[in-house]
């Protein structure tokens, strides 16, 4: 399967080729999990959502349009699943009168663990829309046009969400340089 593009693999999967799906899973499971871990900051939940994302790929292959770039389509599914989970979590927390806070079960990754943990703690304090825009633009390398297309908003609105997210992160993190 090496050398075959994601889009070709997805087309093959849509034709019923199961190994093509497994190749896509092997290529993207880690990336999807990384994105979800940053979005929800909860290890077991990120793993569950990763599974949900790939189940969605299987169930929704009738909605995949030939010519659609696969990675943005896949991460859109992951982002939608994360949003739904976070909305549900907020609902549960609101009813339990216990707002979520602080670090969670995701272990500190490589690099500067203290700084990274500060950033990830701060990310969790952003509204979901801003967090999504920051993670996708800063960490996944999406353009604002791509984020806008995913969310059905204008590119300017996507830029504004990310900008507000960066502003809030700056406030939360104090002196951290080179935020955006």
């Amino acid at each position: 399967m090496e050398g075959v593009t994601d889009e070709v693999l997805m087309d093959q999967f849509c034709q019923g080729d199961q190994p093509a799906f497994e190749a896509l899973f092997a290529r993207h499971a880690g990336r999807v999990h990384g994105f979800l871990a940053r979005m929800v900051r909860d290890g077991p939940l990120a793993e569950d959502l990763m599974q949900t994302t790939f189940l969605s790929v299987i169930r929704a292959r009738g909605r995949y349009e030939r010519g659609t770039r696969f990675t943005p389509w896949l991460l859109t599914i992951a982002a939608n699943a994360a949003r739904d989970a976070l909305r549900h979590q907020q609902h549960v927390d609101a009813h339990a009168h216990a707002p979520p806070e602080g670090p969670t079960s995701v272990p500190a990754p490589d690099g500067d663990p203290a700084m990274r943990r500060r950033i990830e703690d701060a990310l969790q304090q952003l509204p979901v829309e801003q967090r999504e825009a920051v993670v996708l633009s800063k960490l996944e390398g999406w353009s604002f046009e791509e984020i806008a297309e995913m969310r059905g908003i204008r590119a300017g609105a996507a830029r504004l969400r990310a900008h507000r997210g960066y502003e809030k992160l700056r406030e939360l993190l104090g002196g951290l340089e080179d935020m955006s």
Binding site: G34, A46, M50, S56, V57, A60, D84, P107, G111, R116
Partner: protein, 219 residues
């Protein structure tokens, strides 16, 4: 690519191989079910067929019972065609993965149809023997089948408020269509009891779709 000096770009949390195995096993189990894959186009056609089919079936019954005539049907043909077109555009727009512009067109068509339903309605010929709310109840009752279809197909994608509302508008065309043939009340009645039912169905589809857990989170 990882950049150790940049805390933003350090590697994300590693995926536990056991979790990866579990996800892959769940995917294989899903594939082993060999559920039929339905494209969004056939779902859109199904939603339109449910709405238009119900409208045309009730129109046929009204014709057979003599409650409406061929002449009346022909006289209202442009408006009835507009309602069917609205149903088609709304159905297609609601299910299309990239149909945001079409959804907006669908909303526009529904608004034009609603305005025309009121403006083209003649003054009532005489007092009705039935309470006015009967029209609202009939609208909603006739739309229950298409509503169930709409809720089923909407679960194949992530919830989107505009998508759900437009599907509800497609569902509401049934009552609007039949109301043109079966009701002889004036424009005020249409504005309140017919369009009210259409709005109620749009709102109901939106609210129920929001509550139902989607089968997929695809766009």
């Amino acid at each position: 690519m990882s950049h150790p000096s940049d805390p933003w770009r350090s590697a994300p949390p590693r995926l536990d191989p056991k979790a990866m195995e579990r996800a892959l096993a769940a995917s294989r189990a899903e594939l082993a079910l060999k559920r039929p894959v339905r494209g969004w186009r056939s779902q859109a056609v199904g939603l339109f067929a449910a709405s238009a089919g119900m409208a045309l079936a009730v129109a046929g019954v009204l014709l057979a019972l003599g409650r409406t005539t061929g002449a009346m049907l022909m006289g209202r043909a442009p408006l009835l065609a507009l309602l069917l077109s609205t149903g088609a555009v709304c159905s297609w727009g609601a299910l299309s993965p990239r149909g945001r512009a079409l959804r907006q067109v669908g909303v526009g068509l529904a608004l034009v149809s609603a305005v025309l339903l009121v403006l083209t309605r003649a003054a009532p010929r005489g007092p009705s023997t039935l309470p006015e709310w009967v029209c609202t109840v009939s609208h909603v009752a006739m739309a229950l089948g298409p509503l169930a279809v709409a809720l089923g197909v909407l679960r194949s994608a992530a919830f989107d408020p505009l998508r759900a509302a437009v599907a509800g508008m497609a569902v509401g065309t049934v009552g609007a269509f039949v109301g043109e043939l079966a009701c002889e009340q004036g424009p005020g009645h249409v504005a309140i009891y017919h369009l009210g039912a259409w709005a109620l169905l749009t709102l109901t589809t939106w609210a129920l779709s929001k509550r139902l857990k989607p089968r997929t989170y695809a766009p």
